[in-house]
Amino acid sequence: MRHLLSPLDFSLQETEELLDLAHDIRINPDKYAHKCDGKKIATLFYEPSTRTRLSFEAAMMNMGGSVLGFSEASSSSVTKGETVGDTIKVVSNYADICAIRHPKEGAPRVAADYSGIPIVNAGDGGHEHPTQTLTDLMTIRELKGSLDGFTIGLCGDLKFGRTVHSLIHALVRNRDVKFVLISPRELRVPDYVREDLLEDNGMEYKEVERLEDVIESLDILYMTRVQKERFFSEDEYLRMKDYYILDKAKLDSAKSDMYVLHPLPRVNEISTDVDDDPRAKYFEQVHNGVFVRQAIILTLLNLV
């Protein structure tokens, strides 16, 4: 039995195949409309995440399956002190596959240890969010034609942003990807990302503080939210915050085929006047999320 706990659980070739499948689902949805008839997905969300949960549920329903689960810990047996292991042993009797979101890092790994059904990590603390990463990869591949041969700028909160860590993790397997890490000093990528992922894999990267200084060199700009509470001081926040807001004026310096991605939800880091720019692809990205999750469900249930 296979699980998806980290984007690296799929080899490069398997990732390409999964993205091919997601693409096929996108263009031929009817072909997959009954692939999961009679199947159930359990969505165990120990912390709220409407977007990700709905995306999993829509993915299953698009293929004729049904859904069950809970959307916050307070409505589950966890409030009675039940462990993740016990919960998943019980849920394995009710569903065919399970998507789990948990505030504690590694909870999906624990679930997989005890589960009788495939587990999909739908986000665990600041650790991994593999279905988001595969969605990012699908969008990048559609826009650039391949997962190799581009410069990607990752901008914002690179310290706590799990989508950024997972994306770097997945992209360091491709030799010709260059990374530009744009963040305040306090929110730089953790040491393990810099040392174990970028340096150990011999990847070309640089770290800068201002988006304006590098935007013209990028092929993809991956924006994330910089939360005020992450800064050590109010002064520092006020000094830095505008560097990380993408607006029409900043976008003017970018290449005509530099695409803007964002895992969403955004707050104010991409101003709404950018939405109409043909390079803004974040809503397309979220659209792809459903197809990627359909492809993951089919793959893990051996229904391909």
């Binding site: 993740v84 948990h102 504690k104």
Partner: protein
């Protein structure tokens, strides 16, 4: 060198980096043993200048070689039988380390589910890096 009585049956942990004996004593839980344990600090060594040595009375089951390999795989392990060295064991860095060290990441699932084994995986042998199997936080 300071002479600590002859060991008839037991284990000698030799070539411990000077000053590390107490850390090993604690990590191996030697304080909880009923048998005799001798710690020799700052013994003279041709190879190392100074070294620590631990002598433990009793059988091999008293020492977790994985834990020892994690601490320092250059330590030599001599098994003493009838007063002589009967066997020398080589240590290696264990690929998996169970219930030797604890994850200190407050966001790790092990922080709220204490019944889980504390499992660490060797992710970089050259840099001697172990990561929690659950949250992948580096042990420092």
């Amino acid at each position: 060198m300071l002479n600590i009585g002859q060991l008839n049956e037991g284990i000698v942990l030799d070539h411990i980096e000077a000053g590390k004996a107490m850390e090993i004593y604690s990590l191996l839980g030697l304080g909880e043993l009923d048998s005799g344990v001798a710690i020799i600090k700052n013994a003279q060594s041709n190879k190392m200048g100074k070294k620590d040595i631990i002598k433990i009375e009793g059988g091999m089951d008293l020492v977790d070689l994985d834990a020892l390999g994690y601490i320092d795989c250059n330590i030599t392990v001599d098994i003493i039988k009838d007063g002589v060295v009967a066997e020398k064991r080589e240590l290696t860095m264990p690929k998996v380390l169970t219930n030797v060290i604890k994850c200190t990441n407050p966001r790790c699932i092990t922080s709220i589910e204490p019944q889980l084994d504390q499992v660490f995986l060797l992710t970089n042998e050259k840099k001697h890096i172990y990561r929690c199997r659950y949250c992948e936080e580096k042990h420092t």
